[in-house]
């Protein structure tokens, strides 16, 4: 039987990716109705088998209570993890995600869900880090192009010579090429050349 998973994520892009991934693994994905509705009501109305929640969501505390102080809740939510799963919990916490199953669902079904959520959070973290790096590289490349243009105009030299000049400058100063290029642009702007 496929588990019905309520997915709560403050980040819409990550939520969409996670929903796809969960569906691929055969989970049925549910989303909370409306932020104006207390999560306790969504849990009662949707009656999920499990919950995956982003740790940045303040709604996490609601999951701690279900069944403990709300006798009207049909199915208490619990984070069933034995001591053997301590490392998995630490890993999930550092990735920024938590998972719960409701009472009646075999506790051993939590671990694969938690692992999947953790892996998905980490995957997205990695993609974003790579994208940031790619963006930075692109910006740096444009900076170096501009600096090269300034050197070419100032020294009336060709592109290869200007590039060699910038590289030597960077090596002599023990700085990255992009940093030196930035300095060249700043100086040119200050001198208005």
């Amino acid at each position: 039987m496929s588990l019905r998973v309520l997915l709560i994520d403050t980040d819409p892009d990550r939520a969409a990716a996670m929903a796809t991934r969960l569906a691929e693994e055969g989970y049925v994905v549910l989303r909370p109705a409306d932020p104006a509705v207390p999560l306790a009501d969504s849990l009662r109305d949707l009656a999920p088998d499990a919950v995956v929640i982003d740790l940045a969501s303040p709604d996490r505390d609601t999951l701690e209570q279900v069944g403990r102080i709300d006798p009207g809740a049909t199915r208490p939510v619990v984070m069933f993890l034995g001591h053997a799963d301590e490392a998995a919990l630490a890993d999930a916490v550092s990735a920024g995600v938590a998972a719960y199953v409701t009472a009646g669902v075999p506790p051993q079904r939590l671990r694969p869900l938690l692992d999947l959520a953790t892996a998905q959070f980490r995957h997205l973290q990695r993609l974003r880090a790579e994208l940031d790096l790619a963006r930075q590289t692109l910006v740096e490349r444009k900076t170096i192009e501009r600096a090269k243009g300034i050197v070419m105009a100032q020294r009336a030299c060709d592109e290869a010579t200007a590039y060699a000049y910038l590289r030597k400058l960077a090596m002599d100063r023990g700085q990255r090429l992009a940093v030196v290029a930035e300095q060249v642009i700043t100086v040119a702007q200050l001198l208005d050349v």
């Binding site: 207390p38 999560l39 303040p58 505390d61 701690e64 102080i69 709300d70 006798p71 301590e86 550092s94």
Partner: protein, 322 residues
Amino acid sequence: MSVADLARPTDQPVHHRPERTRLALGFIPLVDAAPLIVAERCGFFTAEGLDVALVREASWANIRDKVAVGALDGGHMLAPMLLATPRRVMVTGLALGRGDNGIVLGERLSKAPIGDVIAGAVTPPTFAVVFPYSVHTYLLRVWLTTNGVDPDQDVRIIVVPPPQMPQMLATGRIDGFCAGAPWPALAVARGAGRLAATGAQIAPTAPDKVLGVTADWADQHPATHQALIRAVIRAGIWADDPANRADLIELLADPDAVGVDASLLQPHAQAFHRHALPLTADADWLLAEMRAAGHLADAGAAAIVYRPDLYRQAAASLGLPV
């Protein structure tokens, strides 16, 4: 004592040097996090040789789990959360005041005495609290009982993040709530409800938040723990001083601290340092209420969790009465 006096490094013998100096502590944006915020911003941690990163967290469960797995060294915690047998044994050597809690009622419960409303109601009223194991849950249960309402049968109690409470009260999604400052004041200021009772009226000695760490962390870092407690004691004394009121409000209003309008902050409605000693007797009040709520608290938990000896050691080294 002036700030300069308080922030002066204490003379520590070599063997009392902290085992670790770089620490991360979690907090929830509430007025009773003031001693931690003050300790960071006014240099009390630095004066103890500690480099502390205060991390604003979105939920109590996050703080508990991050402290349990070592992602945080300690944090602002609800005392009952420590007593409710968490995954790892946690201890406290310092209480962070007794809170400034209030029960706010929305429109539906403001027209007539609550008992009458419930008697004539088709659906039971819904109350919100901040966490199942919180002084707010127990204060609300005591207040309901005092008003002739059965907290288990006559009402529904759910957990709602406090920043959402005023709006949910205004729209009738909930009918009342019990939470700590600044949320009751905020709800009243927005016209979402009226203050029905304060925590001080219901149970003046009820403990609220504490500085919690795992028992293992406390065993492994005794000198760091003492330095931490000393820094927060001094910050609490600073925060209690009426002369620092304007500065304290400004610190708390900062978006990275509590982040609400300064006009809604009345930090001196509560005392920070005066209630800093974590008394086992205070825990007994909580344990009795936890048992009454069916929250299965182990009667022996208080003696393990509450460590007044750690407070006394730190206070003595600061020359404070213990």
